[in-house]
Symmetry: C2
Subunit: 175 residues, 2 copies
Amino acid sequence: MELKKAILERRSIRAFSEKPVEKNLLKELLTAGIYAPTAGNIQPWLFFSITDPDGINKIRTISPGMLSDPKALICVCSDQKKAFERAGKGGKTLSLMDCAMAAQNIMLRAYDLGLGSCVIRSFNPNALREIVGAPDHIQPELIVTIGYPAENPDTPARNTDVIYREEYGKKEEGK
Amino acid sequence: MELKKAILERRSIRAFSEKPVEKNLLKELLTAGIYAPTAGNIQPWLFFSITDPDGINKIRTISPGMLSDPKALICVCSDQKKAFERAGKGGKTLSLMDCAMAAQNIMLRAYDLGLGSCVIRSFNPNALREIVGAPDHIQPELIVTIGYPAENPDTPARNTDVIYREEYGKKEEGK
């Protein structure tokens, strides 16, 4: 699929069909994730790919933001040890942004492969860390829910009134 | 360009040619930016598109992370008023992630259009806010430098040892 099409047409999907997500497709999504840029190329992250229904249910229980019944999850975590070693306290914010860019790559690639996805931050990170058995320096940042879409929502209107040229208040000519 | 190609081949570019960036291309990048998802679809952001050499020079002066001579900049800012109204204090982190996803869209689309880009967080946000004349609730989060590439760097190796299945320590079969 053309990149432009994926960017403009991707939608957050919150209703999924029963069809499971093939493992080779999940692998494609994870590859897209790790090709996002990271500050200083330290790749301060860890990804969990979860398709076990029991695991998904546990994570749903601690994720008020998960309003769907996804067939797969990718949990995008920062590695605070790697982030701190490179950038000190500033590494926290940098690794958060790195994880967000990885999630965006994952969601675009999901749409490209005919999958639906939605990114969630409303969950209990400590509980999630325990569920996947990760050590303390692994910080769950985002969950991407994945499945075959069972809805086809409209693209919500974008506010184009948020773009200035050169300085605050100055719009494109003719706007 | 195919989405997959853009994701795998995009590189951070730090050397740009003298050729200016056409305004219609910058518009395409900004459109890509605003099509990123935002928490609750509040679009808590503001974008500055800067091509005036004097403006770029001023911003370079307060951006130690800008190791290049870009022909255009897109400053991605969060709107802390919108973010707070919707999500309280949590809006700060959410809007930061929204901005990072927008930046990733912008960089992918830049590569798609034959442009090079690099994302920067190492700058003085208060000084940048003053340069563009933005009010206090507008928080500069990222700068994307843009221009026609004058280098063709190799893709740095990706660590694939950061992907687990179901739980910590459990790798793909055969890995």
